[in-house]
């Protein structure tokens, strides 16, 4: 949390910073939620302090399944229809095959597969929020790593020098999402909670993320992407959100690079997607609090990952989380909020 505070690039007065801290927020979120406005009630927001200190316990002792992407894949791949294929575990020169269909057991085999598949994804086993995700592309023999051309030798070195990674298929998204921004697999962060009494999961919030020209093939907001709330009932996209240079929220209705309209777009087969994600949450109730990254594809959904302590800023910007009695009850029953 302290690291996040120091990383904040936005100007703020000392008095405001102190007030933010007293309320339990880092300045970045204090500005983003506009907690200095008189019509804001900070007590309705899940604070950063609560998130870092208490929400991180919610999936104990099994949160490691969500922290380690290899483990996540191994646990969730029994739901074959929703998990992208994982081909190999890569640690230095060690390439351990994980798929029977496409056997990848060496660095060269990675590039042979890439030649056939054209796009693959390397994901740091420990990365978060796309921080260690690399798209590999083979365009008729020309290799692109993170969008930049590279010789085969350099690309091989790049792979060998990474921290432990998994190699997975590249997920092709549905048309509605490609039309908004085709340069990244645009995913929806779906936050599910499992009620303590009934052990039934519900979808608390959903937020669609889209990559931009600066986000290097990823839809990560940390890398400059944009986001839009999804109406949980209808699957319609609400207003989009960007951040001004002052750290304040800015409502946008169209994608800044493609100009494609965001607000009002209908996520295809939304009900089906929600049902499937709730099925998954129901099958893994020992993880009561998961932020799933879901890509809607032509034929269903793919789960890119699950996050144990999901970022909340985009999810609660328009409507603070604790204003929903069911969400508040969830946190209270699990003993992380008074």
């Amino acid at each position: 949390m302290i690291r996040e505070e120091f990383r904040s690039p936005y100007p703020i007065s000392t008095a405001a910073r102190l007030r933010a801290w007293k309320l339990g927020f880092i300045t970045e979120h204090y500005l983003f939620y506009e907690l200095d406005r008189s019509d804001r009630d900070p007590s309705q927001y899940v604070s950063d302090r609560a998130r870092y200190l208490r929400l991180s316990r919610l999936n104990d002792p099994f949160s490691r399944i969500l922290h380690d992407k290899m483990l996540f894949g191994e646990v969730f791949r029994r739901h074959q229809d929703v998990l992208p294929e994982t081909f190999a575990y890569v640690r230095g020169r060690l390439v351990v095959p994980l798929s029977n269909r496409d056997r990848v057991d060496s660095i060269d085999a990675i590039f042979d597969l890439l030649a056939r598949r054209r796009k693959l994804v390397l994901k740091g086993v420990r990365g978060q929020e796309g921080s260690d995700t690399t798209i590999l592309e083979d365009r008729g023999g020309e290799l692109l790593v993170k969008g930049s051309a590279m010789s085969r030798e350099a690309a091989k070195r790049f792979v060998v020098e990474r921290q432990p990674q998994i190699l997975t298929e590249y997920v092709e998204q549905a048309a509605y999402s490609r039309e908004i921004f085709p340069g990244s697999a645009n995913s929806i962060r779906m936050l599910t909670m499992v009620e303590l009494d009934t052990q039934e999961p519900f979808l608390a919030r959903a937020l669609h993320r889209f990559g931009t020209a600066t986000s290097l093939g990823i839809d990560s907001v940390a890398r400059g992407g944009v986001r839009a709330t999804v109406d949980v009932e209808t699957g319609r996209l609400g207003p989009g959100l960007a951040v001004t240079p002052q750290g304040r929220p800015e409502t946008i209705e169209s994608h800044p690079d493609t100009g494609a309209r965001i607000t009002g777009v209908q996520v295809t087969r939304w009900k089906e997607a929600v049902e499937r994600v709730l099925d998954l949450a129901r099958g893994h109730r020992y993880l009561p609090y998961v932020g799933w990254d879901v890509v809607i594809t032509q034929d269903g959904i793919r789960i890119l990952e699950g996050n144990s302590n999901s970022g909340l800023d985009g999810l609660q910007h328009y409507t603070p989380l604790l204003s929903d009695p069911r969400v508040r009850r969830f946190y209270q029953s699990r003993g992380v909020i008074l």
Binding site: P61, R64, I65, E74, R78, P97, L98, P164, Q199, R285
Partner: protein
């Protein structure tokens, strides 16, 4: 390792204990392998096992250490994994199965009355150290074979460290005939060749429970172990541990009198192939001691052990006498 040495209950002179330690063995292993008569050089030492073999499955040995995680990772091979119904933690029961919704301590006993036998397994236990077989014999409850009142049973379940609740695996007739009161499993040690990523079976040993093992098949606590011929599935003679800590070969089970030597594990080839297939799919775990029960319709994996006990394996002969096994350990950097 020190705590294991302190647990040693067998008499051994100070000179021999020292000699055992100098060579890297616990007193009990020294006696079990009869190192005063056999050449120690071909045995995997306890020192190596504790200090080096424990690294072999890093960083994913946690999958084998945590039984909930093991179930979650391996249940995609649904034909071989016993059904897990629930995880029980701090008196709270979280359902894990769609077929049987078990969400309270009461629901556990309700399921038990229908299934008659269920197993509670500590998420962190190993070697059967925290496994309880629960039985409902027409309304009367037995835990670990001991009659237990309903209230006590309830308290027992609610107060354990985190557990999973699984089905009781019914073994095939051949194993039941040798000793019917425990699920008798085969410890199959698989290794992944570092060059080809192909798995091979290093050794298979069939364990059988005994009168004193409380429904488990634990070898060092009074059970019997027999080596399985990897080619034919035929059992060698049984070995049990004498009160002196030395091994004794037996042809028949000491409690039931049933013949062990020469019995053939039914559908052994199929069982072995299935275990190797699974090892191949999880090649990031290059060294696993699987506990396999042969049933009437196939096999069930009770668990996988990351740093399998070597006593039950080497009491039948040293592992390092096999060149392929020695190569495996060397290539993985755990043996000089």
């Amino acid at each position: 390792m020190l705590s294991d040495q302190r647990k040693n209950q067998y008499p051994l002179s100070a000179a021999s204990t020292l000699r055992a330690w100098r060579r890297g063995f616990l007193s009990q292993s020294y006696l079990l392998y009869e190192l005063d008569r056999n050449d120690a050089a071909n045995y995997v030492t306890d020192r190596t096992r504790y200090l080096r073999l424990s690294r072999l499955n890093a960083p994913y040995s946690v999958i084998l250490h945590d039984k909930l995680l093991f179930g979650e990772v391996f249940r995609r091979h649904s034909d071989v994994l016993p059904e897990t119904y629930a995880v029980v933690r701090n008196g709270r029961v979280v359902p894990m199965s769609e077929a049987e919704h078990v969400d309270s301590v009461e629901a556990i006993f309700e399921l038990l009355s229908r299934r008659r036998r269920l197993v509670l397994k500590g998420i962190r236990g190993w070697g059967g150290s925290d496994t309880t077989v629960m039985e409902d014999r027409d309304g009367e409850l037995f835990f670990g074979g001991v009659p237990t009142g309903r209230d006590r049973a309830r308290r027992y379940v609610a107060s354990r460290p985190p557990q999973i609740l699984t089905e009781y695996v019914e073994q095939a007739a051949y194993a039941r005939e040798i000793f019917p009161d425990s699920a008798n499993s085969i410890r199959m040690l698989t290794m992944i060749d570092g060059e080809t990523y192909e798995p091979f079976l290093a050794r298979a040993v069939h364990r059988f429970g005994g009168r004193h093992t409380r429904l488990m098949d634990n070898f060092t606590q009074g059970g019997v172990a027999a080596m399985v011929d990897p080619e034919t599935g035929s059992l060698g003679h049984g070995i049990r541990v004498l009160p002196t800590g030395r091994p004794e070969a037996v042809e028949c089970h000491p409690d039931t009198g049933a013949k062990i030597a020469g019995v053939v594990v039914p559908r052994w080839r199929e069982a072995l192939e299935r275990v190797l297939e699974i090892a191949r799919e999880h090649a990031y775990l290059p060294y696993v001691g699987w506990d396999v029960v042969v049933t009437d319709d196939g096999i069930r994996l009770l668990e996988g052990n990351s740093n399998s006990g070597t006593d039950v394996l080497q009491v039948h002969g040293p592992l390092l006498a096999d060149a392929r096994i020695r190569r495996f350990y060397k290539r993985r950097g755990v043996l000089a």
